[in-house]
């Protein structure tokens, strides 16, 4: 679906991320992990064309994305940035903005747009917040409304930058379940996650980054057994067996 070929780039012409090669498949959640400042967010920004690559290409279904017009690109790839100021609008209006890439020359939202919004509110269970200003919602509720906006945008590829950070644990799982549901509908999901247990639990593919490079890439089990997590994060990892599934547990290590 989406492929990065020797991608290099960063802010102000730096090479914050170097020679990234990766492939993201349909019906899969790829989780990018790595220590702070390793270039995870920069990589996402390069992928949504917020930053211009110094070299390399981003291929979507086999063709380069750089010549795509803005709106067409926004109909294919959606992105939830990490740091956002809370906009002063109702949750319903926010979700409606997800339809902005589909606005025609009449510049009016159509019945189809309102239906997509209704559907997104339904899937995320945020219909009840429709008329409530965003600044009155809790962090978790707000995040679900943002996901609803991305669902309304209805793109094949969805990029998320730490969608669960600062959320209470039940919101983290609720959000990840919504994301899993999107995967099952055939979306390609790429997300940066801080929480390693959550990352390994939900990922189909894990990319581990360090100092601007991809350290390793593979299934959660492969990554865990490669010892790369221990090396990159300076921790010690154990797998504990629960009656349901093997959960990974992380312990800090004194060096």
């Amino acid at each position: 679906m989406l492929e990065l070929v020797n991608l290099t780039g960063g802010y102000h012409g730096e090479d914050k991320v170097k020679n990234i090669n990766a492939e993201f498949k349909k019906n899969e959640i790829t989780v990018i992990i790595g220590p702070n400042g390793c270039g995870k967010s920069t990589l996402l920004k390069l992928m949504v064309r917020l930053l211009k690559p110094l070299s390399g290409r981003i291929m979507l279904n086999g063709s380069d994305i750089s010549p795509l017009p803005r709106k067409e690109f926004a109909q294919t790839v959606s992105f939830l940035p990490q740091a956002r100021s809370v906009p002063h609008m109702s949750a319903g209006s926010l979700v409606l903005h997800g339809r902005y890439p589909y606005l025609s020359y009449t510049r009016r939202y159509s019945k189809k747009d309102y239906e997509a919004v209704e559907r997104a509110l339904m899937i995320t269970g945020t219909g009840k917040f429709r008329d409530i200003p965003m600044d009155l919602l809790s962090g978790g509720e707000r995040q679900k409304v943002y996901i609803a906006m991305l669902i309304a945008q209805n793109t094949d590829v969805i990029l998320l930058d730490e969608p669960t950070t600062y959320l209470d644990i039940h919101y983290q799982f609720e959000l990840m379940n919504i994301i899993c549901n999107l995967k099952q509908q055939g979306k390609t999901i790429i997300t940066v996650l801080h929480d390693l247990s959550l990352a390994l639990k939900y990922a189909d593919q894990v990319i581990i980054m360090n100092q601007g490079k991809i350290e390793g890439c593979g299934s959660p089990d492969d990554i865990c057994h490669s010892g790369m997590i221990d090396k990159v994060f300076h921790i010690h990892m154990r797998q504990l067996l629960s009656p349901y599934d093997g959960e990974y547990v992380f312990l800090p290590v004194q060096e």
Partner: protein, 355 residues
């Protein structure tokens, strides 16, 4: 997962169609506000046409509108004094209020307004240069004011972008540029012998010198600016999501910022070209309006057009009446009335004002 799946199933089995109306936040409430505002505007306009150092009775006004009374003194006062003055108040008020709302949206900054970030001073400086250099070319004033306003807006936003400025730094940049331009204005004022240029009316903002001619030149700029502002409401809303989100929704953020700043500059430039440095209206009217109609920029802009006109026309009316037959520049009344009113709003409805 169960939640999401359940929701999907509910959606697939029972969902029929979406209701458009559901997206208006209290639609009836905002319509009611608009109706009230329009009513107040009508009253203010009638008062503004009839009251002044020579009062015109409503009967005379009706006669004049019917066209029966073309020779009287009242007719000439109405046509050459009251009408341009009232129109000037309405146009300047709408233009500056909308300009303020746009600038607040573009810079995503509640403290911004055309006077605070120096746009009015830029317009005023170039207007004054123009008055001194080409005293016989009144049609030059609105485009000159627009150029001044636009260059200032551009300078502030480029500097802000270059240094990756925080909200406060943008304001400080604007204040610094504004003070340079105000110094320029004061220099021209001191060394020029022209009466109009030297008057405090221009500095404070005043409508006493407005003629039909000056409106004739500036009016079209304002009307076009207001229409454009209404067209780009949705873009302003998308911009308020933040640069990254707006970009990932397919918006050309830089281009729209530039266009919106141009519109704001046209509006405040045109207003400054005939009304002088009217300050406060661009800052407080958008805030007051948001308290009542919410944050949707479409409603904010519509309400700003009406409320800005009301505010300036009402202040101008008082400026004429309080010490009649002497007049105060309208800017003084605006600050005296608007300041306390704004403070009252801050104290009672603070939640709505997000600085």
């Amino acid at each position: 997962m169960p939640d999401g799946v359940k929701a999907m199933n509910i959606f697939q089995s029972s969902f029929m169609g979406a209701n458009r109306r559901s997206f208006c936040l209290h639609p009836s409430k905002s319509k009611r506000w608009l109706a009230i505002l329009l009513l107040v505007l009508a009253v203010i306009v009638i008062l503004s046409l009839t009251l002044g150092s020579v009062a015109i009775t409503p009967m005379q006004l009706a006669e004049i509108i019917k066209g029966n009374d073309k020779s009287s003194a009242a007719y000439r006062i109405l046509l050459y004094v009251r009408f341009p003055r009232t129109m000037a108040a309405l146009l300047a008020g709408s233009a500056l209020a909308v300009s303020g709302a746009i600038i607040q949206a573009v810079l995503n900054n509640a403290l911004a307004s055309p006077n605070i970030i120096g746009i009015n001073s830029g317009a005023g400086f170039v207007t004054m240069l123009c008055m001194v250099a080409f005293p016989a070319q009144p049609w030059l004033l609105p485009p000159a004011a627009f150029i001044g306003a636009f260059l200032t807006a551009l300078a502030v936003s480029i500097i802000a972008m270059k240094i990756n400025a925080s909200k406060i730094t943008i304001i400080l940049t604007g204040v610094a540029i504004g003070s340079i331009l105000t110094a320029g204005i004061n220099t021209i004022k001191e060394i020029s012998t022209d009466v109009l240029v030297g008057s405090s009316s221009f500095m404070m903002g005043g409508l006493s010198y407005v003629t039909n001619e000056s409106l004739h030149f500036a009016g079209p700029y304002i009307l076009i600016g207001l229409i454009l502002a209404l067209l780009f409401c949705n873009e302003m809303n998308v911009l308020s999501l933040g640069e990254d989100s707006a970009h990932s929704l397919g918006m050309n953020v830089k281009a729209y910022r530039f266009i919106l700043l141009m519109i704001a500059a046209v509006l405040s430039g045109a207003a400054v070209s005939f009304a002088g440095l009217l300050g406060f209206v661009g800052l407080i009217v958008p805030h007051c309006v948001r308290i009542f109609v919410g944050e949707d920029n479409k409603k904010v802009i519509v309400a700003c057009i009406v409320a800005g006109a009301i505010f300036v026309a009402a202040c101008d009316l008082l400026a004429r009446l309080i010490f009649a037959p002497f007049e105060l520049p309208v800017g003084i009344i605006m600050s005296f009335l608007g300041g306390p009113f704004f403070l009252w709003l801050l104290l009672t409805k603070r939640r709505h004002i997000n600085a």
